[in-house]
Symmetry: C2
C-alpha cells in the first residue's frame, strides 16, 4: 500500500513535507537549509523552466550568466538594497585549505585570506549593473533584455523544503531601458508573463497587484507581484517584477547618450520566480493520497500498468500496451509502461498517485477481450472503462480537461476565500476561522501596516491592479481610506 502520509486536515505542515519527500520531489541534505532536488522534482522544475524560458524568449529576452560571487563593497552601493540583502548571506573569506598540522583532515589556510570578502549572490542586481556600465554607452545599446537562470543563497534561519531554503534555483531578469515608460511597461509585461504561466501551466490562479512600500523589493520604486492561495488559506507570493527606476544606474553610474545627445541614467527592471513555485504546486493541488500535478508540466503524464497472470497474458498485454505507448508518444505525451514485475499493481497505483501522475491506464486481460482499458484520473480519482479504439486521442483530450479542471477547482477555492471585512473584529475572526485573502480598508501608513502584522501576523499581500476606488475607514485606525487592499497570512 501507499507510504504513510499525514492528513492535510490534521497536520497541514507535515502533510506538505510528506508530499515533497515521499512524492520524490526533494530530500533534506547534510547542509543546513539546503535541499537535494530529486529526479522527479527536478524534471518538474525543468518543465517549468522550459515553459518560462520560451515565454521570455518570445518576449525578446536572451539568457546570459554572471558570477556567483559579489564583492562585498558592491552590496553597499545602493542604500536600500544593502539593508535588504547584505545581512543574512554566505560570506567567502578564504580561498585555500591546507592539511591540518595536527593531523585532523584539512583546515582553512590563514594565509589565504581574501582582501575583500565575496558574497554568494542573494540576487544579482549589483554585479549585473556593474557589468552593464561597460555594455551601455548610447540609446542604440538599449533596451538590454537579459535573463539569467542561476542558484542564489539567502541564509534563512527557518527553512521549508522549496518554500524557503538557503540555496534555491531561480531566474532573474535584468533589463535596461532608455525611458521610464518603457521600463514600467517591461515590469508590467513580465508580471503578466508570470501570471499566465502560473494560471496556464501550474493551474494556480493568481492575483496581480503591487506591493506596499514596506513589502517592496530593496532598491525598487515599485514591486509588482502575483499572489496565490494555498489550501490552508495562507497566501504565497509566487513571483515579483520590479520597476527599479534609476536607482541601480545611479549606484553604478550607468549613463547613456540619449537621442538628444544628452547623458542620462538608464532605467531598470528586475523580475524573478524560483523553485518556490514547486512548493506552490504541491500546496495548491495535493491531496491525502499525494501530489496532484498539472498535466502541462507533469514529468510523467500517463502511466500504463498491466494486470495479468502468467507469461501468456503478459505477452498479449505487452503488445497492446506498446501500441498505446507509441500512439501516445506520437502525440507528444510523456508516458511510461510500467511492467516491472517486482511490484504488484496495487503498489504501483499508490506509488503513481503519490507522485501525482495525471492519468493511469490499468490494462487487464479481461479488458483486452472487451477492447477497453480502465482510465483513472488523478485529480478527481474517477475511473472508467474506455474503448481502446481512439484511446490516444481520448487521453490527449483528457489531459487538457484535467488541466482546465484543476485550474477551475483552484480558482473556485480561491474566489471563495476572498472576503471583505469592515471591522477589526470581523477581520480577526475571518483570519482565524476562514483564512484566505481579506479585502479591507487601510489608512495607507506603514505604522498601521506594522501594527496589523504585529497583532495578527497578517500582511498586506498587494493592492490589486485595477483596484476599484471606494471610500471607507481603516479597519485598525479608523482613518479615511480610498481603496481596499488584500491582507493574508502568508508563507
Amino acid at each position: 500500500m501507499s507510504k504513510e502520509i499525514a492528513s492535510r486536515q490534521e497536520d497541514y505542515s507535515q502533510w506538505y513535507n510528506d508530499l515533497v519527500i515521499k512524492g520524490g520531489l526533494a530530500d533534506y541534505s547534510a547542509v543546513r537549509g539546503c535541499m537535494v532536488i530529486k529526479p522527479h522534482g527536478f524534471a518538474l522544475w525543468e518543465n517549468m523552466r522550459d515553459a518560462l524560458d520560451k515565454m521570455f524568449k518570445d518576449t525578446g529576452h536572451v539568457n546570459a550568466y554572471f558570477p556567483l560571487f559579489i564583492p562585498k563593497s558592491f552590496l553597499s552601493k545602493e542604500a536600500a538594497h544593502v539593508e535588504g540583502f547584505a545581512k543574512e548571506c554566505a560570506v567567502v573569506t578564504h580561498y585555500r585549505l591546507k592539511n591540518d598540522p595536527n593531523g585532523g583532515g584539512v583546515v582553512v589556510d590563514p594565509d589565504a585570506k581574501l582582501e575583500e570578502e565575496l558574497i554568494i549572490r542573494p540576487t544579482s542586481e549589483t554585479i549585473i549593473w556593474n557589468t552593464y556600465k561597460d555594455w551601455i554607452q548610447s540609446y542604440r545599446d538599449l533596451p538590454l533584455l537579459i535573463n539569467q537562470w542561476a542558484n542564489v543563497v539567502r541564509w534563512e534561519m527557518r527553512t521549508r523544503l522549496f518554500l524557503r531554503t538557503a540555496e534555491f534555483l531561480w531566474q532573474e531578469g535584468h533589463t535596461a531601458h532608455a525611458t521610464q515608460t518603457e521600463a514600467i511597461a517591461e515590469s508590467r509585461q513580465m508580471l503578466e508573463v508570470y501570471a499566465s504561466f502560473a494560471e496556464e501551466f501550474m493551474a494556480v490562479p493568481v492575483i496581480r497587484g503591487v506591493k506596499t512600500e514596506s513589502e517592496r523589493f530593496a532598491g525598487a520604486v515599485d514591486t509588482y507581484c502575483i499572489e496565490a492561495l494555498m489550501q490552508d488559506g495562507k497566501a504565497l507570493q509566487a513571483g515579483t517584477s520590479h520597476f527599479l527606476g534609476q536607482n541601480f544606474a545611479k549606484a553604478f553610474d550607468v549613463k547613456f547618450l540619449n537621442n538628444k545627445n544628452e547623458q542620462e541614467y538608464v532605467w531598470a527592471t528586475s523580475w524573478g520566480v524560483s523553485t518556490r513555485l514547486v512548493g506552490a504546486i504541491v500546496m495548491a493541488h495535493g491531496d491525502d493520497q499525494g501530489l496532484v500535478l498539472p498535466p502541462k508540466i507533469a514529468p510523467l503524464q500517463v502511466v500504463i500498468v498491466p494486470i495479468y497472470k502468467g507469461d501468456e497474458q503478459k505477452a498479449q498485454l505487452d503488445a497492446k500496451a506498446n501500441e498505446i505507448l507509441a500512439d501516445l508518444k506520437r502525440l507528444g505525451i510523456r508516458v511510461k509502461y510500467d511492467d516491472n514485475d517486482n511490484a504488484r499493481p496495487g503498489w504501483k497505483f499508490a506509488e503513481y498517485e503519490m507522485k501525482g501522475v495525471p492519468v493511469r491506464l490499468a490494462l487487464g486481460a479481461r479488458d483486452l477481450e472487451k477492447n477497453v482499458v480502465e482510465v483513472a484520473r488523478r485529480d478527481t480519482k474517477e475511473k472508467k472503462a474506455v474503448e481502446l479504439d481512439g484511446i490516444a486521442q481520448y487521453i490527449d483530450g483528457l489531459l487538457l480537461e484535467i488541466q482546465h479542471s484543476m485550474f477551475k477547482k483552484a480558482k473556485e477555492f480561491r474566489d471563495e476565500h476572498v472576503t471583505k471585512a469592515d471591522t477589526w473584529d470581523e477581520f480577526v475572526k475571518l483570519l482565524d476561522e476562514k483564512g484566505g485573502f481579506i479585502s479591507a480598508h487601510w489608512d495607507g501608513t506603514a505604522e498601521t501596516e506594522d501594527a496589523i502584522k504585529e497583532k495578527t501576523k497578517a500582511t498586506i499581500r498587494c493592492i490589486p491592479l485595477n483596484n476599484p476606488k471606494e471610500d471607507g475607514k481603516c479597519i485598525l485606525s479608523g482613518r479615511a481610506s480610498s481603496e481596499r487592499v488584500l491582507f493574508a497570512r502568508a508563507y
Copy 2:
C-alpha cells in the same frame, strides 16, 4: 569595418581572447577569475547543453540538483580526493554581514561564524555519495543514473576565459552500480557519448584514451578522456569519465544488499564536461576574421542582410527576405533578417563573420531581378549566387555540408599532427617545431613522466583505447616499453 583582432599566427593567445570578447561570447568580470558569459556565448552553451542533455536522457539518465556547499569534513573522507580538490577552493566561513560600526558600509559579523566551514563545490562526489547512502539499500535501487547541471568553483591562480576560470558551468554525472563490470561499461559509454558529441556537434575530432596514474582524477581507479587538438598544436582535454571503483562508497559507507543477500559496497562512476568546450570550439575553428561556429550548435545559423537604396527597393527586399525567412524557419533553421538601418552592409558582414554565423545571405535589388541571392559560407569564405527557387532546401543542405567540412578540416589537421618520435632529440624537436600529439614509448613510471614534463612541459595526454602493442624503448630512460602513448603540451 571589423573590430581589430590579433592575428592567429602572430599572437595566438591574444587572438583567442579577442575572439572570445569581440565575438560576444564572454567578458571579464569584476570578480577575480570569474567571467560573464554574454548572450551569444550563453546561447552557444545552451545549444551544447541541450544536445548533451538529450544524449544523457537517451542513455537512461535523469537530472537532479545537489547543494552548492560541501561541509569541509566531507572532502577529507576520500584520501586521494582530498589531495586533489581540498586545496584551492572558495571557503564560506560566515553567514552574516552587519553595518560597519565605523560607518564604512558592511563588515563580516564575527558572531556569525559557521561551526564548520562550507566549501563551494569544486566537484560533487562527496555530497552526492553522502546522499546516495540514504537512497541505496538493495540491488533493486540500482543502477542510479543521475546527472547534474551546475556551477562549480576551483580557485585557479592563472585563469583564461572559458578554458580555466574560477567559477565555471558544467554537468557532472554520478552513477551507482551493483557490479564492477556495469560501472566500467557506464564510464566507457559516457566517454563514447562525449566523443560523439565533440565530433558530431562541435566538429572537433577527439582521441579516446585512458589517463596515466599521475593524470587520473583524484579518487578514480581509471580516468577515461577525450583529447582534442587546437590550431596552435596544443592539446585540450575535452571531457573525462571516471571509473571510481568502490572508493566513494567506502568513504561514505554506501552498501547494498546484493541478489545473494550479502552486503556489498556500491560501484561508482562520474563524468563531466564544462564551458571549457566553448573555448575548444573557438580554438579549433576560429580564423583571423573571428569565430567560425559549427552549424549544429551555432546560436544563429543564417543571417540575411539586405542591400538597397531607398524605401522602394527596401520594401521589395523585405517582402522577399521575409519569404526566405519563413521558409528557413519552417525547416527549423535559426535565422535572422538584419534590416537595421543604423549599420551599413559591410559593417554587418564583418560583425556576423566575427560572431561566426555559418551562412550569410546578401540580398540586393539587382539579385532580385535575376532571381538569385549571394550566399557566403563562413568556414571557407566562398561566395556564390544561388537561385532563389528552392533556396531554403539549398541552405539546409549547405549547413550540413559546412558541419561535415569543418570536421573534415579539423580532422585532417589533427591527423597531420600525430607524429611518432623514437629518440629524445626527435621528441623535443617535434614538440618545439611542429607541436601536436607525439606518439612515443614510455617506460610506464611516474618518475619518467614527471621528468619529461619537467624538461619539456609535455604531458602524457592519454594511452589511446585499443592501442596497438609494440615493443620499444622509452624515449627518456631507454627502458623497455610495450606500447606508445600520446604526449603533448596542453591547455
